[in-house]
């Protein structure tokens, strides 16, 4: 199936240029793994990046640069063999390729966390995340996540299954971008279990009564 909700082109350029935080980069990579059109668009921008890299005037290297580099190779050993083993965990194996290493490492350290009514979350430790959250949410068919708002921007990429909210239907590969102030109440469609990669910005948390509500609902941001 072809996704119908895509990242805007400017997000693909920001990603290709590296002007994006690690969590948003992960979302773009995963969408690209599931969407041939966006994968081609990213590759187009990256090819421009490669061409521009070639045109840069070379910087002078340290005088001992090459010998230091070769000494590092000596410590490193031979190049890796390409791995062919699929992940043992069936959920991890079902995820888009760019997400599998991080999700697999995370699952080696901590289990899924139960939220409510069969909804589970796996909190991912993405190196370099100052704040905000990166998690995989698993919503059984027909179940929902309570209505919630967003302190900052929320990017939700459907990994499998589908959900719907007042704004529309989101199936595998679809990306939903919710801004600050948007609230929604996603419900998973009947059929397959719905898994979503959700990333929230490192926006300031709300304070006061809303902040307390957000702490309770924080898992769903």
């Amino acid at each position: 199936m072809t996704p119908t909700h895509h990242p805007p082109l400017e997000l693909l350029l920001d990603y290709a240029a590296g002007a994006i935080d690690p969590a948003a980069a992960l979302i773009v990579q995963c969408h690209g793994a599931m969407c041939a059109d966006c994968r081609a668009a990213i590759a187009t921008f990256e090819a421009a990046g490669g061409a521009l890299l070639d045109q840069l005037p070379p910087a002078a290297l340290a005088p001992d640069g090459l010998s230091a580099m070769l000494a590092r190779l000596d410590r490193e050993g031979p190049p890796d063999r390409p791995e062919i083993a699929a992940p043992a965990d069936p959920v991890i194996a079902s995820l888009p390729g760019p997400l599998q290493p991080l999700a697999g490492q995370t699952l080696g350290r901590r289990p899924w966390r139960s939220l409510i009514a069969g909804v589970r979350a796996l909190d991912l430790d993405l190196p370099g995340r100052a704040a905000g959250a990166v998690q995989i949410l698993e919503i059984p068919a027909g179940r929902g996540v309570p209505r919630h708002g967003h302190g900052g921007r929320e990017l939700s990429l459907v990994l499998s299954g589908a959900y719907a909210d007042a704004g529309g239907r989101y199936g595998a590969g679809d990306l939903q971008i919710a801004g600050p102030g948007d609230t929604h109440r996603p419900i998973a469609e009947s059929g397959d279990i719905c898994r979503v990669l959700a990333v929230t910005d490192s926006a300031p948390r709300l304070t006061g009564l809303l902040g307390i509500a957000q702490k309770i609902l924080g898992n769903f941001r």
Binding site: D14, A47, P58, A59, L61, L73, Q105
Partner: protein, 182 residues
Amino acid sequence: MDREALAECVERIAANADRAAFAQLYLHFAPRVKGYLMRLGADAGLAEDLAQEVLLTVWRKAAHFDRRQSSVSTWLYTIARNRRIDVLRRERRPELDPEDPALVPAAPVAADVAMDQSRRDASLRAAIAELPAEQSELLRLAFYEGKSHSEIAVARALPLGTVKSRMRLAFNRLRRALEPTL
């Protein structure tokens, strides 16, 4: 070195752990990667160190390179770009991530993308050289200064919509340049 020679170096590393091939790649790319990272704000020491890490990744992951999918320059650019996402946008310095998503084997490219790479490269370079000045500047701000589209709008005092439409025009030209000719 031309693109075929560079691709052969990576393949020789993958096949035979060929150190001479690696040294050739190092001498070609390390100065450019270092220059790229310095433009993005790394000091000379950090940039040199990160350039070594990028080249070390080339050594380790050489078997992941597929010349039908991209040029060595583009592959190396994506590795350096991912290091930038990880490192330069925060204070703390992480260890080299062996699971860099750039190194996860990519899904197969469509047949129309996996076309004659040399011709694509030449066509792309020509298209970049022929971009109207404002579109060319946009790409340089993005790739050489690491500015996001909204940062470009602020830096050049342009409406966001203008930046987006220039970006789309530039994208369409690049995409046409990469299209098969037949």
